[in-house]
């Protein structure tokens, strides 16, 4: 019997019968990708899962019977595309955002409370270390705070100058820094965000670099504090720092906590595999980090504008306290969880 006269169950016939479905599915997917689910009529929405299943079944049959590479590749690509669209996003962007702010963000922050406490202690420890060192011997200051960061705020500076950097006294900061103000604020925001992202991202190295970064943050804080209190400006400096510092340091602590969470998951994965534990922790930490960047944005605004416009120390303390209370309430007051 020659090959040509064989009865053809033929994969060609299979293709002829099913091809219309594949084309319809392709068109539907393209529409869905371009314009979203809103663009589909209710008829098309009902068609979607039916066509999806038809395509998947075609793929199974084709794999078992057909040797046409082009056909197999097309069906495979179409099924993969379809799978991720059909099983992919089940939420609109808006409801995603709403859920993030109402539930996911505070819940993620609550979940890392232990790590937050540890990082807060690390920062305080850093501040205490440099404080005590600088208070005893001002020379230490230059080891802690790099020249370009301090902007002349060091133990050699006069009381008047230090006062002016806080926005008090005759040569108030406003007059000289008027033009550079927003540049400075931008710089601070990007710099702080990068440090936070780093201290989060370095978390997987068992959390050690994270703790070092946070410790270092505490150190420069403590050194500055020591300089100002040494000149009798402690309360004013506190206000200058407090207005945005509550938000910023809180954010810094949270970013460290997020990093530490990942580091802890890698070291102590528990019953899960190390990879799985890391990715679980990574997801929680990712949510915390979005929040951290938003907090830093708020801190940058408070620092760049609020602090320069409000020079009254009491008012500065008040705003800083209100912000702190706001964050604490937002994160830690228990609420009914979203079940969905």
């Amino acid at each position: 019997m020659s090959a040509a006269s064989l009865p053809t169950f033929s994969t060609s016939r299979f293709r002829d019968e099913r091809e219309a479905d594949w084309i319809a599915f392709d068109i539907l997917l393209t529409k869905l990708e371009k314009k979203g689910a809103v663009a589909l009529t209710s008829d098309e929405l009902l068609q979607l899962p039916i066509l999806y299943r038809a395509t998947l079944s075609s793929l199974s049959i084709a794999r078992a019977t057909s040797l046409d590479k082009a056909l197999l590749d097309h069906l495979e690509a179409l099924s993969i595309r379809g799978y991720f669209l059909v099983y992919g996003v089940r939420e609109t962007r808006w409801s995603r955002i709403r859920r993030f702010f109402l539930y996911d963000w505070p819940a993620a922050v609550r979940a890392v409370w232990k790590e937050t406490l540890i990082i807060a202690l690390v920062i305080i420890l850093g501040a205490l270390t440099s404080w005590s060192l600088v208070a005893h011997n001002p020379e230490w200051y230059f080891n802690f705070v790099p020249e370009e960061m301090s902007g002349g705020r060091d133990p050699r500076a006069t009381v008047e100058f230090l006062q002016s950097t806080l926005g008090h006294g005759k040569a108030a900061a406003g007059s000289e820094k008027e033009s550079g103000l927003h540049v400075f604020a931008t710089y601070l925001f990007t710099h702080n965000s990068q440090v936070s992202i780093l201290s989060f991202a370095l978390g997987f190295a068992f959390g050690v670099p994270t703790m070092m970064l946070e410790y270092y943050q505490g150190i420069s804080l403590g050194a500055m504090l020591a300089v100002f209190t040494g000149k009798g400006l402690g309360v004013d400096f506190g206000g200058w720092l407090f207005i945005h510092g509550t938000t910023e340091l809180f954010a810094a602590a949270l970013s460290g906590a997020a990093g530490l969470r990942i580091g802890a998951a890698v070291v102590f994965p528990g019953a899960r595999g190390r990879l799985e534990a890391a990715s679980d922790a990574g997801r929680t930490a990712g949510k915390v980090m979005v929040g951290v960047i938003l907090m830093l944005l708020v801190a940058g605004l408070l620092e760049g504008f609020g602090r320069q416009l409000i020079t009254d120390t009491v008012l500065r303390y008040a705003i800083g306290t209100v912000m702190l209370l706001f964050w604490l309430a937002y994160y830690y007051i228990p609420r009914r969880e979203d079940v969905a």
């Binding site: 019997m1 020659s2 090959a3 040509a4 064989l6 053809t8 033929s10 994969t11 060609s12 002829d16 091809e19 594949w22 869905l32 990708e33 299943r53 998947l56 793929l59 199974s60 019977t65 057909s66 040797l67 046409d68 590479k69 082009a70 097309h74 495979e76 690509a77 099924s79 595309r81 799978y83 991720f84 099983y87 992919g88 996003v89 993030f100 996911d104 033009s179 927003h182 540049v183 931008t186 710089y187 925001f189 990007t190 965000s193 990068q194 992202i197 780093l198 989060f200 991202a201 370095l202 997987f204 990942i262 990879l275 890391a278 990715s279 990574g282 997801r283 930490a285 990712g286 960047i293």
Partner: protein
């Protein structure tokens, strides 16, 4: 190495990149892990796109605004670079195609490793880690350049250490970045394949007939290579392949190459597909009947 072993190795190396991914319907989608070259290509395209966007935005501000003061431009570049860099990747990967423009161009996408849907927090986590992977080596070099007290060897050690983080994806089978590892994601191929015409179906004009013995010399691998040649329609390649087949089955050069190849392809395909229906899958010409 024999040709048979080489063939088997080729198939093996392709199979190594395929990951089982079973849908709830019970079909294995056989996702293929994207190669590191494609990943790098996608990254470069994205970085270029970000820079161009920033540049255009800057020009726009220039054009709208009164002669832009230098510090405004400075803010645009500093804040814009940060915001774009951070949210370009996150924003695009949150979309329904889970791919940045660079990834789309390369035909790859991000997928949750466990087969579930890709959550926003996973996307955020994997992209924030990028900051570290991209900029830590640069920072290390920067530190080395600025600080004289650090010896060259220390800097080199730092750079190498940070490079092992950045190049982490070269050291694992699944081509996962540090970010993928932590977010629980994979980057896989998501190319579109156009449905090409069915070359075995069109009407047979002047078809030749081959005997069973003539058809039994090849397997599936050769069939699909032949299909590739036929679809590409390159006359030189077709001539070469046709000559090889003629020599193998001992036929004289009597007809046009494309007629010969097409009829041979059709009959070989029909024969091998019949084998499939009977549960016989002959992978290549070295496999037994």
């Amino acid at each position: 190495m024999t040709a048979a072993a080489r063939n088997a190795r080729l198939r093996g190396s392709q199979a190594k990149k395929i990951r089982e991914f079973v849908t709830p319907e019970g079909v294995d989608l056989e996702l293929r892990i994207a190669s590191s070259g494609l990943r790098l290509g996608a990254l470069i395209v994205d970085l270029i796109a970000i820079t161009v966007t920033l540049f255009v935005f800057n020009l726009l501000v220039d054009w709208i605004g009164h002669a832009t003061p230098r510090d405004i431009a400075f803010i645009i570049w500093m804040l814009g670079a940060f915001v774009l860099r951070t949210f370009w990747f996150i924003g695009f990967e949150l979309g329904s195609r889970a791919a940045t423009p660079g990834k789309r161009l390369m035909g790859i996408r991000v997928v949750a490793r466990d087969g579930g849907r890709l959550t926003a927090d996973a996307v955020v986590a994997r992209n924030l880690i990028r900051e570290l992977e991209l900029f830590l080596p640069l920072m290390m070099v920067g530190v080395g350049a600025s600080e004289d007290m650090v010896s060259g060897w220390t800097v080199a050690a730092g750079v190498i250490w940070s490079l092992t983080l950045s190049l982490f994806l070269l050291f694992n089978r699944d081509r996962m970045r540090m970010g993928d590892l932590i977010a629980g994601t994979w980057v896989v191929m998501a190319q579109r394949a156009k449905l090409d015409s069915d070359i075995s179906a069109s009407a047979e004009a002047g078809a030749m007939l081959f005997t069973e013995a003539e058809l039994s010399v090849y397997g599936i691998f050769e069939l699909q290579e032949l299909e590739r040649i036929l679809r590409a329609r390159d006359p030189r390649a077709m001539r070469e392949v046709a000559d090889t087949i003629r020599a193998k089955i001992g036929r004289p050069v009597a007809e046009e190459d494309d007629v010969f190849l097409l009829s041979y392809y059709r009959q070989l395909k029909a024969r091998l597909e019949r084998g499939l229906l009977f549960g016989k899958r002959r992978e290549d010409k070295y496999a037994s009947e």
